[in-house]
């Protein structure tokens, strides 16, 4: 039986996609007969800790998880994690490290390398030019040069989620072994339900435009609000409402709300905060159009969920999966200017047949390309190949 240890700085839901993907990976691998353990910190967002016992095994999601105390917010340092891993690392055939510029990631790579255990890095989008130029750019570049660079070269494989992520990687000029395995999503989360929202008058007889995901700068929501305002001004058809589901920093959220009021669309924008369960299924059911205007998105898991539900979608070119989805006729990719977005929104909303056809192609595409089964098969193949190949550290 293959034994794999996953290392991720945090499992907190406040971090969005990356933390949500891991439970799916754990479950899929377990079902494929892999022994899975996960080590992480008890981080629950800046200044917050999860209420979990630390340093002892927890049975969660069908796997063994280990939480270690986060000692600093910056870099999420956890020395108890390193102490534990030095003792335990040889129990595993392979260590799969999620994220890069974080204490647990660097520590896990080093410990695995020193112990001769192959390790795989999933960089979560930070290696592309955009990610490198975001927060703490200088620190990242310096750190990459002196620390992560060598760990990347010594990794058994770098696990990219899309071809775009690999092509745009700043490490491309260097020697690295890499592979592309998309995330699989649990198709059942795309199940739609008409339980809740059809009862709300807000949504009745109105087009519903849905945005789902964390609310922060990279998501391009200013552009979306401006485009929606432009669209609303010239819209002569059925009224539309823009629904923003997701959490974000208070100050930033407030600035977006102010912007929507300044644009005169305050009454047509609904802020729902974090959604899941029936409310989320209901949103996927009621939405006429899904929008994802992000500047950069290393995968776009929220978009996959919307596509899987069969919703017509407009995406920005920064969303890694957008191009391949558009090639299948399953979404529309639009350059990030508010004028073009307003036009695209208008065109899709006035074409119910085109919307229906795009939605149908979207749900088929997700089943065929981003299913959990496909991901499980590919990950297992990757583990087998890194375990059997010779390493020279």
């Amino acid at each position: 039986m293959i034994k794999v240890l996953h290392v991720i700085p945090s499992l907190s839901q406040v971090h969005g996609g990356p933390s949500r993907a891991l439970p799916i990976i754990e479950k899929t691998l377990t079902e494929a007969g892999v022994w899975v353990e996960t080590a992480t910190t008890n981080d629950n967002g800046a200044g917050m800790m999860m209420d979990k016992p630390t340093g002892e095994p927890q049975l969660e999601n069908g796997v063994t998880r280990w939480y270690f105390p986060k000692q600093t917010d910056f870099y999420k340092v956890s020395r108890p994690f390193s102490r534990w891993l030095r003792h335990e690392v040889t129990r595993f055939d392979v260590v799969h490290v999620h994220a890069l510029f974080s204490y647990t990631s660097v520590s896990a790579c080093r410990i695995a390398r020193n112990a001769g255990v192959p390790y795989i890095i999933r960089p979560l989008g930070v290696l592309n030019t955009y990610g490198m130029n975001q927060s703490k750019a200088f620190l990242k570049k310096t750190s990459l040069r002196f620390i992560e660079g060598q760990l990347i070269k010594d990794a058994a494989a770098i696990h990219f989620l899309t071809k775009k992520e690999r092509t745009e990687s700043v490490m491309l000029p260097y020697k690295m072994r890499s592979t592309v395995i998309p995330l699989g999503i649990d198709i059942s989360v795309c199940e739609t339900s008409s339980m809740i929202l059809e009862k709300l008058p807000m949504f009745r007889n109105r087009f519903v435009i849905l945005s789902l995901g964390r609310i922060n700068l990279v998501k391009g929501l200013e552009l979306l609000l401006e485009a929606f305002a432009e669209f609303t001004k010239s819209n002569t058809g059925q009224e539309a409402v823009l629904v923003l589901a997701g959490t974000g920093g208070e100050a930033y959220l407030e600035s977006l709300k102010n912007l929507s009021r300044e644009l005169g669309i305050g009454d047509s924008v609904t802020w729902l905060g974090h959604v899941d369960g029936d409310l989320k299924s209901s949103l996927l059911d009621v939405a006429d159009l899904f929008v994802i205007p992000s500047e950069s998105e290393s995968f776009g898991i929220a978009m996959v969920e919307a596509l899987g539900a069969g919703i017509a979608t407009i995406a920005s070119p920064g969303v890694a999966i957008a191009k391949e989805v558009e090639e299948a006729g399953a979404c529309k990719v639009v350059e990030r200017t508010s004028g073009l977005w307003a036009e695209a929104i208008a065109n899709i909303l006035k074409d119910p047949v085109g919307r229906m056809e795009m939605g149908r192609r979207a749900s088929s595409f997700v089943r065929n390309h981003y299913s959990i089964e496909a991901m499980g098969r590919k990950l297992l193949g990757l583990y087998k190949s890194v375990i059997s190949s010779e390493r020279t550290y």
Binding site: I187, C190, E191, T192, L284, D285, G308, A309, G310, I311, P352, V353, R355, M356, E357, G359, R360, S363, S364, R367
Partner: protein
Amino acid sequence: MVTLISTKEGFGLPIVEAQATGRSVVTSSTSSMPEVAGEGAILVDPYSSRSIRDGIKTVIENSEYREAIIRKGFENIGRFSPEKIASQYASLYRKLSITKESQ
């Protein structure tokens, strides 16, 4: 409206029958169904309840599109007329017997 939203179908005779009687057809985008339906049906993803709903809704709400589907359905059934099918069988049999004689 006739719906045939199977995940698999060897042929899908109800599609042709519905088209011949001037019904609007909603059927699956998988297996043999798109080929049999031609342009004369709305295709939906049989695994997605939303896609099925949106297809049925389109037939109900969009009369222009519904009429177009029905018209194209009538055109489509020409491919399956008894004369056409019989002559295809006949030419297949002729081809087989010629092959046998020449052996």
